[in-house]
């Protein structure tokens, strides 16, 4: 195993305040610098996850997001800018993240996750954060995370509700334990405030930091359900399915 990289004086200056967090410290910061994360889609949720992890000093980030910036992206997708409407999202993502953290090793591919690219993309990283708006992409990533035994932060929202769990393959329920089949009635377009997608994204970034930094208690085996209308938050216990087509063999 390679030794953790040292922090430069500049990195010490930038990350000083978060290294004061108990159980994280300089060792946690070095683990973060040494870590790679894949974020699938960089929209209302994924964009804020990417911003938070770039700000926190993740060493390497791989982002998969296809298409051009649309006007309807701009109410929540904080890595997209008005001047970039009609141009590739991937370029806007690169530009914004590099403005915040020029040290990051950043790969942005102009594709969404599919059955073909999931395997090589997951292989490049230590942790995956799933922020995709389609279940086909989510299931493909879940399958690869299980196959490669990589932790997966699974987060999603709809209207004023959101939910998040962290998956440790073979140890906790996977996405298909929770939902064995792709819902037929899910619509690609959904009601969303940026403040809702951004809030669950902040939680997903925090889960990623805890998993990489090995501190706190990630939401392993638990599903946090948030109702932002009533501001009620429930931590629900979830179970593995012995019959799960994805992880039942582990």
């Amino acid at each position: 195993m390679n030794p953790l990289p040292e922090l430069t004086p500049e990195e010490h200056a930038i990350y000083e305040w978060q290294m004061w967090v108990r159980d994280f410290g300089e060792l946690g910061q070095r683990k973060l610098k040494n870590a790679a994360v894949l974020i699938s889609r960089c929209g209302g949720v994924g964009g804020v996850v990417a911003l938070q992890l770039a700000a926190a000093g993740i060493g390497k980030m791989v982002i998969a997001h296809a298409g051009n910036v649309q006007p309807s992206d701009l109410n929540r997708q904080l890595l997209m800018t008005y001047d970039w409407i009609g141009k590739p999202r991937s370029e806007s993502i690169k530009r914004r993240l590099k403005e915040l953290n020029p040290r990051i090793d950043l790969t942005v591919i102009d594709q969404n996750i599919n059955e073909e690219n999931a395997e090589p993309l997951v292989a490049q990283v230590d942790v995956v954060v799933d922020c995709a708006p389609l279940f086909q992409e989510r299931f493909a990533m879940n399958r690869q995370c299980v196959a490669q035994k990589k932790p997966l932060v699974e987060c999603a929202m709809y209207e004023m509700e959101a939910q998040i769990t962290s998956i440790s393959p073979g140890q906790t329920p996977c996405l298909q334990c929770l939902y064995p089949e792709i819902p037929a009635n899910w619509k690609r377009q959904f009601p969303v405030f940026g403040a809702v997608s951004g809030t669950i994204a902040g939680m997903a970034a925090l889960e990623t930091l805890k998993i990489i930094g090995q501190f706190g208690q990630p939401l392993y085996g638990k599903l946090l359900r948030c109702d932002f209308n009533s501001m009620s938050f429930k931590t629900l216990r979830i179970q593995r399915r012995a019959s799960c087509a994805c992880c039942g063999h582990l």
Partner: protein, 100 residues
């Protein structure tokens, strides 16, 4: 004298935003259930809001595969539909979401 099986209890169903068109917009629905069990609680919910029936198997009354049911914060997995429900228990419907 009333036996246990004749008791009427009150159960609260928590309905997620995605299913609220079928529950007249209600996020919580309190129902009275006799012979308290999961099965009876589902039947009562469907009687009250028939639009919700499509999210449950017609015969077994188990949730469709894109829905999880939580009984007082505990996920019901491979469960018996006779699972007993107590007075003031909560049944929470959590659908698969992919908004990102």
């Amino acid at each position: 004298m009333m036996t246990d099986t004749e008791l009427t209890i009150r159960v609260v169903w928590v309905i997620p935003a995605m299913l609220r068109t079928a529950s007249d917009g209600n996020s919580e629905v309190a129902i009275a259930v006799q012979n308290p069990s999961y099965q009876e609680a589902v039947k009562q919910l469907i009687t009250l809001y028939p639009g919700i029936a499509e999210h449950f198997d017609e015969e077994t009354l188990r949730p469709r595969s894109y829905i999880s049911i939580f009984h007082n914060d505990e996920q019901l997995v491979d469960f018996s539909t006779d699972t007993p429900i107590r007075d003031r228990d909560e049944l929470l419907i959590v659908p698969a979401l992919a908004g990102g």
